[in-house]
């Protein structure tokens, strides 16, 4: 069985800064994989490398058995890699439904269509279902500029789900959420279909550990520990670099 994601010795430099160095990571299909680590550890950069925002300066990215290293970001959306961004990247001048429509259509052909396509009605139904799934049905026809922070995070998740991802990559989905909004997000993550492979960056162990099968801890651009969630909190290195400085 091919793995959802196989990273071989990937690295990325920004000038003198070595943001990600020699990271090798295998995520089997269907796994819930959490990536932890202090700020600046290189977690988001690692995501950007996987999603093709920029190419790695070394190493190889393979997703579902296909070499992605030099492929553009758009190609990955089409083969079923969905992602969210640490800071929401939404189309603020458009409504919730329009945001979802754009995301739904992005994953297939006919994107340049100058006439509403035959699938238009189906697209709108799909977008409505997605809006319900991320609990935004009541805001479906509101402009994104009028949404609260929590609602924007929910929409981020909806956009990532729109390409019917096989691999879903979430960058700190709980960032900035109020304590009241967190259980709702946790529930949404738990409700994800089992066949979706999930890679989750999360600062907060209380969010990450209950839903993950495997935990990778990064620091200074490197992987320092890889453990199952039940053993991660006992790991002395983790305690020193991660728990030692406080979290949440």
């Amino acid at each position: 069985m091919v793995h959802a994601l196989e990273l071989t010795d990937i690295g990325r430099r920004f000038g003198a800064l070595h943001a990600v160095r020699n990271v090798s990571l295998t995520v089997p299909s269907g796994q819930r994989h959490a990536i932890l680590g202090p700020n600046g550890a290189g977690k988001t950069t690692l995501f950007n490398l996987v999603c093709g925002d920029f190419p790695p300066t070394s190493g190889r990215v393979v997703a579902f058995g296909e070499d992605m290293t030099r492929r553009p970001a758009s190609h990955r959306a089409r083969i079923g890699i969905g992602r969210t961004y640490q800071t929401s990247l939404l189309f603020t001048g458009l409504t919730v439904i329009d945001n979802l429509l754009i995301a739904i259509r992005g994953a297939r052909k006919g994107r340049l269509s100058l006439v509403p396509s035959a699938s238009n009605g189906q697209d709108i139904r799909d977008a409505t279902v997605l809006a319900e799934r991320v609990r935004l049905a009541h805001r479906a026809h509101h402009e994104v500029a009028t949404l609260s922070h929590g609602q924007r995070r929910q929409l981020e998740l909806g956009m990532a789900l729109a390409c019917k991802p096989r691999l879903l990559m979430l960058d700190e989905p709980a960032a900035g959420l109020s304590p009241a909004e967190r259980p709702e997000l946790n529930q949404m993550l738990k409700d994800l279909p089992g066949e979706i492979t999930l890679v989750l960056i999360e600062h907060d162990m209380d969010v990450a550990l209950p839903i993950s099968d495997m935990v990778t801890v990064m620091k200074d651009g490197e992987i320092v520990v890889q453990e199952t969630p039940d053993r991660i909190t006992d790991n002395p290195i983790v305690n020193k670099i991660y728990l030692g400085q406080g979290h949440g």
Binding site: L89, F91, I102, A107, R111, P116, C163
Partner: protein
């Protein structure tokens, strides 16, 4: 509301306004004055409104402010004047109006695509600069290639085809054609922005990084948007050339380019109807202020009007009327947190 209903309602309303205004003018004014309004002010507002619509379309839905739209209109105008039978002097000549207009529109689409391709990686002030450079460069090219474009004198005697036995430049005939074209293009824009293409274009405006990550080809969408804007500008260019009975470098120079930007900004870049609001305000000022003062004072006057509108209302006359409406109804600003 479905797209079809929106278009139907807007179309009916637009048609109503375009028919009622001349009717009201005939009722309110002596015939020769009414014809003056229709032929000199409304017709001009419609022509330049169409060209401004191409700018507003790109700015409102793509976030691209292009200063090359007057140039693109001029390319259509020159192609028409160079190819059509009867124009003086004969440059190429020999084509009837239908064919010459078709070639003119084709040229404007190609020119639009070319501008889009050249400026495809630039945004904001850099896009403004590169399109301005193109416009000025084209102006200099036209002015200095006398064999091709007949220098500053330009090409004259482009009268337009006869329509049902009446002259194209008959005020009522011209007005009918210009308003029909304007309405169709306006509805076309409203339709286009609800298509998958149009939605993606707005996505590019809001967040180019996200839209390409979602699988869209930003480069292709941008170039096509400029091509469509080229077609709109070309329609305006053809009408303007017939309206002016020809074309000369002066009508596509820096002044014309800036006037077009002023119309668009004065009308408001928030909605395509702003193009026509702005061009109407401009045409009225241009007509009456020029007769009150001399030409140079007109420029200061329109400059002052521009400043006042932009200072009071950054989104132009449209924003101004929306603000007034909200003030009168006592509604909160959009975007304000819901109570």
């Amino acid at each position: 509301m479905t797209l079809a209903r929106t278009l139907l309602l807007t179309g009916t309303a637009g048609l109503g306004i375009l028919c009622l205004v001349p009717l009201a003018l005939f009722l309110a004014l002596p015939e020769n004055q009414a014809l003056f309004w229709i032929g000199n002010i409304l017709a001009r507002a419609l022509i330049y409104g169409i060209i401004a619509l191409s700018l507003t379309f790109l700015a409102t839905y793509g976030g691209f402010v292009s200063l090359a739209q007057m140039m693109v209109a001029g390319i259509a105008g020159y192609v028409l004047a160079m190819t059509v039978q009867g124009a003086v002097p004969v440059i190429i000549g020999g084509f009837g109006y239908p064919m010459a207009i078709l070639m003119a529109l084709l040229a404007s689409v190609l020119a639009g695509l070319a501008v889009g391709a050249i400026a495809v990686r630039t945004n904001d002030i850099y896009l403004l600069m590169i399109t301005l450079a193109l416009a000025v460069g084209f102006y200099r090219f036209v002015e200095s290639n006398i064999d091709l474009f007949n220098g500053y004198e330009g090409i004259r005697n482009v009268l337009g085809p006869d329509i049902l036995g009446r002259r194209f430049r008959d005020p009522m005939v011209f007005y009918t054609i210009a308003s029909g074209t304007a309405l169709l293009l306006y509805l076309g824009v409203l339709f286009l922005v609800r298509t998958p293409f149009g939605l993606a274009l707005q996505g590019i405006r809001d967040n180019p990084r996200r839209i390409s990550a979602l699988g869209y080809n930003v480069v292709l969408h941008r170039i096509v948007a400029f091509g469509i804007a080229g077609f709109i500008a070309g329609c305006g260019g053809v009408l303007a050339t017939i309206y002016n009975i020809g074309i000369s470098p002066g009508s596509i120079g820096l002044g014309a380019t800036i006037n077009l930007l002023i119309m668009s900004v004065v009308g408001g870049l928030g909605h395509p109807v702003g193009a026509f609001v702005g061009s109407l305000i401009f045409a009225i000022f241009d007509t009456f202020a020029a007769s009150l003062y001399d030409r140079d004072r007109f420029n200061s006057l329109i400059g002052a009007v521009f400043l006042v509108i932009v200072l009071i209302s950054p989104d132009g006359a449209l924003g101004l009327s929306r603000r007034l409406g909200r003030l009168l109804r006592g509604k909160p600003k959009p975007g304000a947190p819901p109570a």
